[in-house]
C-alpha cells in the first residue's frame, strides 16, 4: 500500500496530480472521473467579462503547442452561480484561479469568490496574453509580492502563487511570493512564444504571441522547480510539459510536492488518472511507502545517491 497523499500547507490532497488552470472544464467530466484527481483547478476568472484574444488561437509543433486564449471570463457571479455548483458533486478539493488588472482587484476578487466550497485560490499573475507583448505582474518582483499580499489580506483561503517562467531569476520570485505570505508556489505558467507562417509572411496566431506548453517545455520548467525548491520552504507545485506519471515523478524528485498537468488533457483526457496509477506502481517498485518522500529526493549529482530511505 502506497500512501499517495500530499499536503499543500493545510490542504491535504489524495494524490499529487491536478490539472493546470485553463486546461480542464466541465467537458472533462464526460470522459473521466474527476474524483480520481488530487484537486480540481479551475480556469482563471477576472472581475470583468472578457471575450479573450483574436483567432486563430492555437499553433502546433511536434512536441508542443502555442495557445493564445487570453482569459475569456464570464465573471465572478457566473463562477459562483454556475461553475462552482457543477463541481460541488465531486469530493476532490476545488481550487479557483484569479487574475485582475490591478493589485487591489486581485484582493477584491479573491474575497468575493471565497465560497465555502473553495479549498484554495491560485493567483494567475503570469498570464501572458493580457498585456501588450506579454508583460505581466509576474515579471515584476514587487507586483508579484503585492498581489499575494493583497489576496492574503482579503481571504482566509490558502493562496497559491502561480509564477511565470518568463523571468530571469525564478527563485527570487518564489521567495518574494513566500515572503508575501503565499501558501504554495506553482511553477509555472506558459513560456511566451511566437510562430510565423513563412509562406504567408504573417504570424500564425491572432495575438501574435502566445504561451508555449507541452512536453517541449519540460526541461525548462523542471529546472525552475528545482531552483525554487532550493529557495523556499513552502510547497512547490510543478507544472510544464507533464504528460504522464514519469514526468510527475521527475518534478517531485526535483523538489515539487505536487504537479499540474495541462496541455496533455487536450490530447489524452485520461492522462491524469493514468499518471496517478503509474506513480503508485513506481513507488511500489522502488519501495517508497509515501509518495511525499519523493519530494526533493533526487541526488545532488549525477554520480551521487538519491536522498531517500526506501523500505526493501
Amino acid at each position: 500500500m502506497v500512501d499517495l497523499s500530499v499536503s499543500i500547507g493545510s490542504l491535504k490532497l489524495a494524490n499529487p496530480i491536478m490539472p493546470g488552470s485553463g486546461t480542464m472544464a466541465e467537458g472533462l467530466a464526460d470522459i473521466i472521473d474527476l474524483d480520481g484527481l488530487g484537486a480540481i483547478v479551475l480556469k482563471t476568472i477576472t472581475p470583468d467579462i472578457r471575450q479573450g484574444t483574436l483567432t486563430p488561437r492555437v499553433a502546433e509543433f511536434n512536441d508542443a503547442t502555442l495557445f493564445s486564449i487570453g482569459i475569456p471570463s464570464k465573471g465572478p457571479d457566473y463562477f459562483l452561480n454556475n461553475t462552482l455548483p457543477f463541481y460541488g458533486r465531486y469530493k476532490a478539493p476545488v481550487v479557483a484561479s484569479v487574475s485582475a488588472d490591478t493589485v487591489e482587484d486581485f484582493g477584491t476578487l479573491a474575497a468575493y469568490i471565497s465560497a465555502p466550497s473553495i479549498a484554495a485560490i491560485e493567483a494567475n499573475i503570469s498570464c501572458p496574453n493580457l498585456r501588450a507583448h506579454g508583460r505581466a505582474f509576474g515579471m515584476d518582483i514587487e507586483a508579484t509580492a503585492g498581489v499575494i499580499a493583497a489576496m492574503k489580506r482579503a481571504t482566509d483561503k490558502p493562496v497559491w502563487a502561480k509564477l511565470t517562467p518568463n523571468v530571469g531569476d525564478i527563485a527570487a520570485f518564489a521567495k518574494a511570493a513566500e515572503q508575501a505570505g503565499a501558501d504554495a508556489i506553482v511553477t509555472g505558467n506558459a513560456i511566451l512564444g511566437m510562430a510565423v507562417d513563412a509562406e504567408r509572411m504573417r504570424p500564425r496566431l491572432g495575438n501574435v504571441i502566445g504561451g508555449l506548453t507541452g512536453s517541449a517545455v519540460k526541461p525548462i520548467l523542471l529546472r525552475m522547480v528545482h531552483q525554487c525548491a532550493q529557495a523556499v520552504d513552502i510547497p512547490i507545485i510543478g507544472c510544464g510539459g507533464i504528460t504522464n506519471g514519469e514526468d510527475a515523478v521527475e518534478y517531485m524528485l526535483a523538489g515539487a510536492t505536487a504537479v499540474q498537468m495541462g496541455t496533455v488533457n487536450f490530447v489524452h483526457p485520461g492522462a491524469m488518472p493514468e499518471a496517478v496509477g503509474w506513480i503508485e506502481g513506481y513507488c511500489r517498485r522502488h519501495g517508497v511507502e509515501r509518495v511525499r518522500d519523493l519530494t526533493g529526493a533526487m541526488s545532488d549529482t549525477h554520480a551521487g545517491q538519491p536522498k531517500l530511505k526506501v523500505t526493501q
Partner: protein, 278 residues
C-alpha cells in the same frame, strides 16, 4: 468493438477515448478517403453533426501533436461501425491516410452538438460542398427516419469530386448535383434552382455545410422563406471538449449580441440565424 479503453465508462461517461480497429481506409476520389472503423456503444451513439477527435499517428518523424476533428459520416449500429470521409490536407490527415486495416485509431467522441431537426419537419433541404457532404450525410438518414422528405444539393468543383450520392440515396434522399465545371454551382444559378424547388414543395428546414458562399445563400433563403435552418462550422481545435477555448467563432446569440462561441462545445452545429459564416 472497443479494443482497449483505460477510461472509466458506462455510468454517465458520454465520451470515450475509443481505440477502434480499422476495417478499411480507401480513397473515394482524388481528394477524399473513407475510413471505416469498428466502434463500441459510446461511439455508436454519435448523432448527425457530431464529430470525433482523432489522434493521428506519427509517421516518419512527423508528429501531429493535437487531435484532428472529423464529422461522423456514417454510423452503423448493426455492424458496429463508424465512418469518416476526409480530405488529405496536411500532416494529420496525411498520417490518417497511412492507416491500414487492423491498425488501431484512437477516436475520442462523440463530441459536440449535432443537428436537431425540429419535430414535425416534413421537407428538408440540405446544401453541401466539400467536407460538408460528409457532415450532412447522417442528417439525411435522421430526417428520412422521421419521415421527412430530403433534397440534398451536392456541390463540387468537378463531377469526379462529387461524393455521397450513393450514401444519400441509400438514406432515401433526392440528390441534385451541381459543379463548377458545368456552371451549375454559382450562387445565382443555385438560388434559382432552390427557389424553384421551394415553389413546388416548400421546405420547412434547411441545413448547410462546407462553403461560406453556400452558407450565405441558404441563410438568406431561410430568412426569406421564414424557416429554421442549421449549419455546421469549422475552426482550428485544441481539445475538442470545450476546455481550451481555441475553437471559438464569432456568433450572434439569440439576443442579437455578437459573442465568441466554441465550435467543439456549443457547436459544431449552430442555428443558421446565429452563425456568421467563416
Amino acid at each position: 468493438m472497443n479494443i482497449q479503453s483505460c477510461l472509466p465508462k458506462g455510468a454517465g461517461f458520454s465520451v470515450a477515448e475509443n481505440k477502434c480497429r480499422i476495417v478499411s481506409n480507401e480513397a473515394v476520389n482524388e481528394e477524399y478517403r473513407l475510413l471505416i472503423a469498428e466502434a463500441d456503444d459510446v461511439a455508436l451513439s454519435a448523432r448527425a453533426g457530431q464529430f470525433f477527435h482523432l489522434l493521428c499517428p506519427s509517421v516518419g518523424g512527423e508528429k501531429p501533436f493535437l487531435r484532428r476533428p472529423m464529422s461522423i459520416y456514417r454510423v452503423d449500429p448493426e455492424a458496429g461501425r463508424i465512418g469518416f470521409l476526409y480530405k488529405v490536407t496536411g500532416k494529420g490527415t496525411r498520417a490518417l491516410s497511412s492507416l491500414r486495416p487492423d491498425d488501431t485509431i484512437d477516436a475520442m467522441g462523440p463530441l459536440g452538438q449535432g443537428f436537431s431537426l425540429p419535430s414535425g419537419v416534413r421537407n428538408v433541404l440540405m446544401v453541401g460542398r466539400g467536407v460538408g457532404l460528409a457532415t450532412l450525410a447522417p442528417l439525411a438518414r435522421l430526417a428520412t427516419k422521421s419521415e421527412a422528405a430530403v433534397t440534398a444539393v451536392l456541390s463540387a468543383r468537378r463531377r469526379d469530386l462529387l461524393m455521397s450520392r450513393q450514401e444519400l440515396e441509400n438514406a432515401g434522399a433526392r440528390v441534385i448535383e451541381v459543379t463548377d465545371e458545368e456552371g451549375t454551382s454559382q450562387p445565382e444559378t443555385l438560388e434559382a434552382l432552390l427557389c424553384d424547388l421551394h415553389a413546388q414543395l416548400p421546405f420547412d428546414f434547411a441545413a448547410t455545410c462546407g462553403s461560406n458562399r453556400l452558407f450565405q445563400l441558404v441563410r438568406s433563403l431561410c430568412a426569406e422563406w421564414n424557416i429554421p435552418g442549421e449549419t455546421a462550422l469549422e475552426a482550428f481545435m485544441g481539445c475538442g471538449t470545450g476546455m481550451c477555448y481555441a475553437c471559438v467563432v464569432p456568433t450572434m446569440d439569440a439576443n442579437g449580441k455578437e459573442q465568441y462561441r466554441r465550435v467543439c462545445w456549443d457547436g459544431p452545429v449552430f442555428p443558421i440565424s446565429e452563425a456568421l459564416g467563416w
